[in-house]
Symmetry: C3
Subunit: 269 residues, 3 copies
């Protein structure tokens, strides 16, 4: 009876303090995991849906001309789809990359605040432009549908996180953000706190013959996050090998404090 | 008996983890809500008082010359009043705007760190300059007195927040921060995560004929917050209409994850 | 029996939400306090150890040439030691300053993300360069060994923190970061939220005849932290006096909300 009582109290308490309480990058502890994905309950025409990491998607059929100007959006894009969330940038960017492949949209902007609800990384804001609202809506829907996959190799605990991403063919969102060549393999190797990332990137480049496209650290190329990362291209097998090598050492370092470094969804790489 | 026991445990736990535990912008969960506002207990001459959002106010009668130089303060301002807090920038700025209307002080500086104790917005640091210490002290007192009003249309939950502000006549603090014309109406429409703000600002400008003075987003004009906002002027009725329209759609989007978007104090717009 | 049950539940809950739950700078509530410092359990050659503030240290014997280039590391430094943590910059910098005094290493880089796991300050990333891996390893070991001392005059609660540091002889890490003269006394006086720091620095310079080397605030010289600070040099007795005066008023202001401002370890100044 005591155990049952303890569990009951635990549930009540976790309901109250569960969201974002551990100041980590773990989107499971944010609103996303409690999402009652009932778009019909949100009586806003523009609302499309929700996703992990306290992510939300909307679509605006006819953007006001003054908003076009303020946001620097080319007027030919009558409609915009918008994805934004508190936790993560990489997963949403990878998901949006699939979405632009699948729809007649362009990436207008990707902005990355310092966020993660006390965690070490970024939040995100992604704008799709379309001439037709159904294209914009479809891009947002696809992004939200595939988003869980790209949290698969995000590992998080109270001390920090790792992010690994891989695709055999980068598209327009990845090239927009990372200046990585479209149509070629892309890999992201990232660790937080930044010290973990330093060993991950050194391990990654030693594991396979990849071409480093870019590097970012707290003082360079991030929004002051506590992360070090590289992104690479090259032969798809080599890129995957580099990512896997970075992941392996990253998991060991992130677990060093004694807490398991758990993937947010299912590892896909 | 079980319910009573559960409540007792809940209370003990919330006492321990309640402050800032949900990584939100909600100042009620910060130290501000537990404030024992007993200035007589803080045996520091310069201490003036406390406010929501972990805000504190002090006054320095005779600022050291080296501090004048370091902080870029004109030496004619012998005395300074200082307001600063962990959660919010807008509420403290609106309150300080009332304070400069009511006192013989100038706004010397307004700085906005990335803060909110894990939430999506800013913290604040506001400097009033005065030639007489009693003016500086009065400015800080007025700011702290009126501050709760300006948290009235701040809505917060675990996923994000909204901020709406309105005044029929902007004064020197608002013009300092937002470059909005003094003596005219001012409205602020802001949503976090930023995706929510995008729909709020489009809705706002469509609702009424207002003049957009400025815009900010994670990558532009904020301290890397996960917010999108506009501020507007124009006919006071139109400004209010735009703010109300933004608020209405913002509340619906912020509630989409299933948690109520509650005003921190009493809505005033 | 009820008390015992309540305690049991409290323990289970705090285990779940305890880490970083209060969004403060207090490293005791982070993984650091739960560290099972068992380097032998972390089966990574490069892993050296753990420290307060979710700090980790690693060493890389032979840095890959592409990483040398990406990180801007002079190639003569074949080996690097890396310290990085989620909470604090000052303590790790002071500890690294001792480490460079004690070893044949150079400071290659110090980067400060906006972190503290929801708290008001910085995180850290420090790179030591060495021609020999044993020097790099020793520098990281010394940093981790002495780190607790430099959390001694860090005071934290849910509303903010103070940081005081003092040394009679600054070395290469302090000069790298703060441009303070090597071989001379160094003092750091810092308060968060920033309003507290404003009174601390004014009090400090009035207390003793010191030479202010630098100043930082949310908008200037920090990573958008909610802090105001100065660092000073001069006669070691005067520097100590200034630091002590700043600490005394800072503790009173930080306690104003009713929560004790507790030192993280043992005050050493």
């Amino acid at each position: 009876m005591q155990d049952e009582l303890i569990n009951k109290v635990m549930q009540e308490v976790m309901k109250r303090v569960g969201s974002g309480s551990s100041g980590t990058a773990n989107p499971k502890e944010g609103g996303g995991s409690q999402q009652r994905s009932r778009p019909d309950l949100v009586q806003v025409t523009e609302f499309v849906g929700l996703g992990l990491g306290d992510t939300q998607g909307i679509v605006i059929a006819n953007v006001d001309p003054s908003i076009h100007k303020l946001m620097g959006i080319n007027e030919r894009y009558r409609s915009i789809g918008v994805i934004g969330g508190r936790v993560g940038a990489g997963p949403q960017i990878m998901a949006a990359d699939e979405a632009v492949k699948a729809t007649n949209t362009e990436i207008l902007a990707v902005e990355m605040p310092r966020d993660c609800k006390g965690g070490a990384g970024h939040g995100n804001l992604i704008l799709f432009g379309a001439e037709d609202v159904s294209d914009a809506r479809r891009a947002v829907e696809v992004t939200l549908e595939v988003l869980p996959k790209y949290f698969g190799d995000v590992y998080a605990n109270d001390q920090g996180h790792l992010e690994l991403q891989y695709t055999a063919r980068a598209s327009r969102c990845l090239s927009h953000v990372f200046k990585t060549p479209e149509g070629r393999a892309f890999g992201l190797i990232l660790g937080a706190p930044a010290v973990i990332g330093v060993l991950m990137i050194d391990t990654a480049v030693k594991a396979a013959d990849v071409e480093v496209v870019g590097y970012a650290s707290p003082a360079k190329g991030t929004s002051l996050t506590n992360e070090v990362m590289i992104w690479v291209t090259g032969d798809s097998g080599a890129v995957r090998q580099a990512v896997v090598a970075g992941r392996e050492v990253g998991i060991k370092l992130l677990s060093a404090w004694g807490q398991e470094a758990k993937p947010v969804t299912q590892p896909y790489i």
